[in-house]
Amino acid sequence: MSAVFGWIMFLCVASVLLFNLFYMYPRKWKDRKIVLGVKNRKEFKEPGAALQIEKIVGKAHKQALIITGVCFVIAASLLLLRGLIMQTFFWMIFIYIVIFASMIPYMIGHSAVMNIKKSLGIAGGDGTGPVDLKLSGRIHALKPINVIIPNIVGLIPVIVSLLFDLKLISFGESRIAGSFISTIIIATFWLMGLFITLFAFVFDNMKNEVISSDSDVNANYNRAKKKNSADLCIRFIWANVIYTVITSVGLFFRYSELLMIMGLFVYMILMFAAVFVFIHFNKKIEARYIKETEIVTDDDECWIAGMFYYNPKDRRMNVEKRAGVGSTVNFAHPGGKAVGIVGIGSIVFTFLVLVWVGLLESTPISLRVLDSKVICHQLRDDYAIRLNDIVSAEYGDNIMDHTVIRIAGTGMETLLKGRFSVDGVNGCRCFLNPQTKEFIKIVTKDGLIYYVGGETAEETRSVMNAIEK
């Protein structure tokens, strides 16, 4: 499974790198609205400036090409890693490095283009531009019904899954019914669809851009852009629905982690395809309207490194991205600040989780009897079972002969800890290293079932002997 995971990560990184290379570092910059984070303008296309910008764009493309090549080599070498936790750790760090490294030529190029802009005597604006009175708050391309229908369709598998987990309906012999695993997975994807729906409305209500003194041109341009964004969101939501339907069928009839990862793989391909269609149409819209652009609202100074928008004079929280696809936040807006804090917090949290998981993987588990209790210890005492409370204890030879599905807790190649479904019985407490196959099944007076084991078979056996005594 770790090999499949590696390939999925490789394809994700490869797609991001190729997207960055061809979308953010275009060779033909004259048809683009934004050149390395700076608004394209007619002054840039005059012979002297055009030559300089041509050089900057070419240099940035070359640098991006080298970085992409190096990242591809590193990504390919990461495929050789074994062990899911080790892979996750290195891939996560690598993804952050890729995101940062692929932006370096962009930031350097941005600074150079800004210098050319200054040398041309173009004064930096504060981002406050003209407003088309006939457009303000009126241009929308999203028909609510187009996002409501897929969300309703997506709700059906959630309800079916809930009924399945409540055991009100059944699909033959299923080992996960009642574990709520299927409901959690399907509902998570359905909620993601709702989240995308929210974004669809945010995109549809974004500020209309004034590019011409002709209101019809402005209206058509903004409508085309909003339609493209709305279509992207609708495709995303439908991809989510398709995934939930296929996954639910898979979960109800046959639970397989490999099957789920493969499903996720197909889902990601659908998502990337949707993004590429969006980019294709976005480029077409830009190329079509660049000829009709006669008004350029200068907010270049508000884009830090051409990527991060900070404009206290703009009261909107969301603005169209300059680097990449979609929207970004105005960091001068209170909501934008909150998003920034959450973003940094989530990066820190990811690393903390990885460190914690690394600790869990590297710390051996310990099973012993102390003070008339069976103590399951790893970093802390996870379970302490009184010997007096034990109703029965059975010694098992191989945990791999049983179907163990995680409900809540840690499920790794070297550790199963938390609440699991074992052979269709939900709510079992596990504390095992599956590599050490021996285990003890303990049932307590209060009806709880424990599957515990030590780091070695000897450790497990000695605890079993102590319980029997």
Partner: protein, 121 residues
């Protein structure tokens, strides 16, 4: 109909909005019955306070250029009252502009041409 706000101008923002809408009506860019954006939408697009836009709309309504109602929002009036005379405020403003032009050596014909252009016909 494009409107621009000059933040460095001495003219208050609500007055600038009012002036540009009046000019839009005069030039025909805004026609009788045309819907104006909501206060909130315009304020958000311009990056200004809703109170400023509201004040501009209030002024336009008082002067009889627009009409507002809860159902349809703000619209350009179909029947704008024709007083047939220049208000004293505008008269003194025009006097100032002509005086400044005269001092700057702008020929009289050029001013008349401009008036013809803005007035139309």
């Amino acid at each position: 109909m494009i409107i621009r706000i000059d933040e460095l101008s001495d003219v208050p923002i609500y007055q600038q909005i009012r002036n540009q809408i009046v000019m839009g009506i005069s030039s025909g860019e805004l026609e009788a019955g045309d819907q104006l954006p909501t206060v909130r939408a315009l304020a958000l697009d311009m990056g200004i306070n809703t109170m400023t836009v509201s004040k501009a709309y209030q002024l336009l309504k008082t002067e009889g250029y627009i009409m507002t109602d809860r159902k349809n929002g703000a619209r350009i009036r179909t029947e704008i009252e024709k007083q047939g005379r220049i208000s004293s405020g505008n008269r003194s403003e025009l006097k100032r502009i002509v005086s400044e032009a005269r001092i700057s050596g702008v020929p009289k014909d050029e001013i008349i041409n401009l008036v013809n252009e803005y007035y139309g016909g």
